[in-house]
């Protein structure tokens, strides 16, 4: 009986053309929270899939409680009590919460093989209540918020009475408050003796939870440390393989005249009385909890779902934007929240993606000018330093950070006055984050007015000139950054009562 509940030795995994895992090691003690860190594409996700039996490694052994084991499929792993919560929630929108939790390991009558819905519903509800969830287990999955779905995933893991729980970026989609909830749950589980592998790009998560941290880089094992024994800088070096001297390259830019002014924007069921303005070279951070209506506001400005009432002024004259095309024509650009679903045509070449936003620019008397497309996208890709051999490589082969750069490049093809960035660094690794912050800084410098939606405190405080906080669809605070502390923001985004007016 070894001291490790789970131990992996010299694991290697090959995919056609790539070595996804190169002789990596991992050791997990019972009742510990073990952070697994590394840039995107470092091999974390593949590693998880090996542990959960989705992939079979070409080399290396897996030991569970000292016994050598082999996973033919996910069921084998589940049988040993290994459960995973994946980055993108993998629920079944059409099915009930209960079912989402029990699918794959339903309770069935031993004789008749009949599904025992009553028991399952009860147990599901019980688990949810334990997690402090406030919704009913009979609900359809698609009726839940992202955070709620996340909870279902966790509850699902528990329902398999897991002994090893893998959390792959569970906090990526969560607001600070929801993160707090998650931390509580994670710690509680740990105390119940569950071993947790925790993957996240947020240093904060690691420091709050983990006792040990293992770092992968370029599909290789870099090392394992006790969290309290390694400094932030060393860790970043370990992950990125180079120094990142300054994460937030916020320069002093003189704020120009007003470009965008919003007056009392409202949209039924989403937001009301939204008023603020953006100036040339100014970065306005629009923050608050997920679901506070930040994205809705920006999408309304951009014309995805037009406003019901209120006025939008661009350079002084009023706009009536009913469709994104009008917004773009007017000079308002939006970098959408979900890069992969809304920002890119993943299986398309970089060049095609870049030009998609402003195709007419590349159309000469009706005919499409591919030469011009290639030239410009080459220039932009180099300018934004997209890590790619050619502008003809398809977008899905790039890391999150570089994909994000493509989306930025798209906006540079049109002449924008205001650029809205919705969670620009979501799910982007540390190295790329820095790069993106640089780009944002540069954009502001070159005179764009910028609205940046973000839930990450450091980013908000580090990058913005003005901070606008939303809660339940209303603005609760508008503050000049230098004067603001983390507490102010949290207070405004959680505690202020929006219904006083």
């Amino acid at each position: 009986m070894s001291e490790y509940i789970l131990e992996l030795k010299g694991i290697s995994k090959y995919f056609p053309g790539v070595k996804a895992l190169d002789n990596v090691h991992f050791q997990l003690k019972p009742g510990e929270i073990h952070a697994l860190m590394g840039e995107n594409g470092a091999g974390k996700s593949t590693f998880i899939k090996v542990i959960t039996g989705v992939h079979k490694p070409e080399e290396g052994e897996i030991y569970f409680e000292g016994q050598k084991v082999e996973f033919k499929n996910t069921n084998d792993a589940q049988a040993l009590g290994i459960a995973a919560i994946y980055q993108h929630t993998t629920g079944y929108p059409d099915l009930s919460v209960t079912e989402n939790m029990f699918l794959g390991h339903e309770k069935i009558d031993p004789k008749t093989k009949r599904l025992l819905w009553k028991q399952m519903n009860e147990e599901a509800q019980k688990l949810l209540d334990e997690l402090g969830a406030s919704f009913n287990a009979k609900m359809r999955m698609d009726a839940l918020s992202v955070a709620q779905q996340q909870m279902v995933e966790i509850a699902k893991a528990l329902s398999t009475n897991a002994r090893v729980l893998i959390m792959d970026e569970p906090t990526a989609a969560l607001s600070n408050r929801e993160c707090e909830e998650l931390y509580k749950i994670a710690l509680k589980l740990r105390d119940d003796g569950v071993a947790i592998i925790f993957i996240s790009h947020r240093m904060e998560d690691m420091y709050r939870l983990a006792s040990t941290v293992t770092v992968f880089r370029d599909s290789k094992y870099i090392g394992t440390w006790d969290v309290d024994k390694i400094s932030n800088e060393d860790l970043i070096v370990a992950m990125v393989g180079r120094e990142i001297n300054q994460l937030f390259p916020k320069k002093e830019i003189k704020i120009g005249e007003e470009v965008l002014r919003l007056e009392k924007l409202s949209q039924t069921g989403h937001f009301a009385d939204i008023s603020f303005s953006v100036h040339k070279g100014e970065i306005v951070a629009l923050t608050g909890l997920v679901g506070a209506g930040r994205t809705e506001v920006c999408e309304a400005i951009f014309g995805i779902a037009p406003i019901d009432s209120g006025k939008v002024f661009l350079n002084g004259q009023e706009m009536h934007i009913k469709h994104p095309s009008e917004a773009i024509a007017a000079g308002i650009g939006l970098l959408p929240e979900d890069r992969q679903a809304q920002g890119l045509v993943l299986n398309w070449e970089i060049s095609k993606n870049i030009t998609l936003l402003n195709l007419n620019k590349y159309t000469k008397n009706g005919f499409y000018n591919v030469k011009k497309e290639n030239e410009e996208s080459k220039i932009l890709s180099e300018k934004l330093d997209i890590k790619t051999p050619s502008i003809f490589t398809s977008a899905d082969s790039l890391s999150g950070g570089n994909q994000q750069k493509i989306v930025v490049a798209k906006m540079l093809t049109a002449d924008m006055k205001v650029i809205i960035l919705d969670e620009p660094t979501k799910g982007v690794d540390v190295g790329a984050k820095a790069a993106i912050y640089e780009i944002i800084g540069a954009l502001a410098e070159s005179g764009y007015g910028i609205i940046m939606i973000s839930s990450e405190m450091p980013e908000v405080l580090g990058m913005s000139d003005t901070i606008v906080v939303m809660k339940d669809g209303r603005i609760t605070a508008t503050m000049a950054t230098p004067t603001v502390t983390q507490e102010d923001i949290l207070h405004a985004s959680m505690l202020v009562d929006t219904n006083q007016n």
Partner: protein, 332 residues
Amino acid sequence: METRKIEGTKTFNARSFFFQWEWLLIALFIIINIFNSGISPYYLQLDTFTDAPMSFLDKAFMVMPMAFVLLLGEIDISVGSTVALSSVLMAISYNAGLPMSLAIVLCLLVGTACGLINGLLLAKFKELPSMIVTLATMTIYRGIALIILKDQASGGFPKWFNFLGWGYVGPIPLMMIMFIIFAVAFGILLHKTSFGRQLYGMGNNLKACQYSGIKTSRNKILVYTMLGLMAGVTAVFLTSRMGSTRPNVASGYELEVIAMAVLGGFSTSGGKGNMVGAIIAAFVIGFLRYGLGLINVSSQVILIVVGLLLIGSVLAANFKPGGKKKSAQKGT
């Protein structure tokens, strides 16, 4: 850091050039011709290549816009009925005293209108799958045709109208010439204009296109309207070839047209396909049927052959990179 160089010009890659679906089709087409001329002494004569196409060209007119619809990952099974309705209205209005030329215009308008209706419905109710909406309009359009013409046939068109479907310009049938014109037009539209690029985009990721300010609804409506228009064109030529029309003409055309487009490499899950392929495919199927017809193979066997050809071709196509990915997608 210093900016790295990024490759900005396409280098010609023989493999990716020659392993294209279209080459496969051309090969298939050639093989079929060799095969045909091998089995029938009557195959290798000028008539074959001038007359044979006439028996499937009427459908072929709709293949190109249908390809657009498939490109968007949608489908329109109402085209057959659209042809019937426009044809019937043309005949009726002519016999009611409208000059033939205007009657033809009307026919095209009716087709366009039918397509427009499909488009508007689908643009307004995005949550409704095209399969179902067009299933409904399919019944409705033919229903209207039946209401108008009941159990009657209508014809008696002027001589020159007959020329449209039967006439030659030099050795080449007029229909063929018209088809080539349309084929080139649609080919350019798809591959050389930003509109075509937008369609590909919409087929691959509709949301991304919305966020890139592409007028997705407008494009969708346009595509369906084009299909309607071409259904009108088909109606004109078909009616001219038949010299009279009934409410039950062109029944089952929709599936044949879709089959041609799919054989041409357009997946019904959208996002991929090439106009050249679709056009060749139309001829592959057409000449295959004709060749088998020349040796008087019974039509049930022809059914089977075409069916297998369709599946075989898609099987082969699925080995293309992305083919699998596509078909793994949810929904049809």
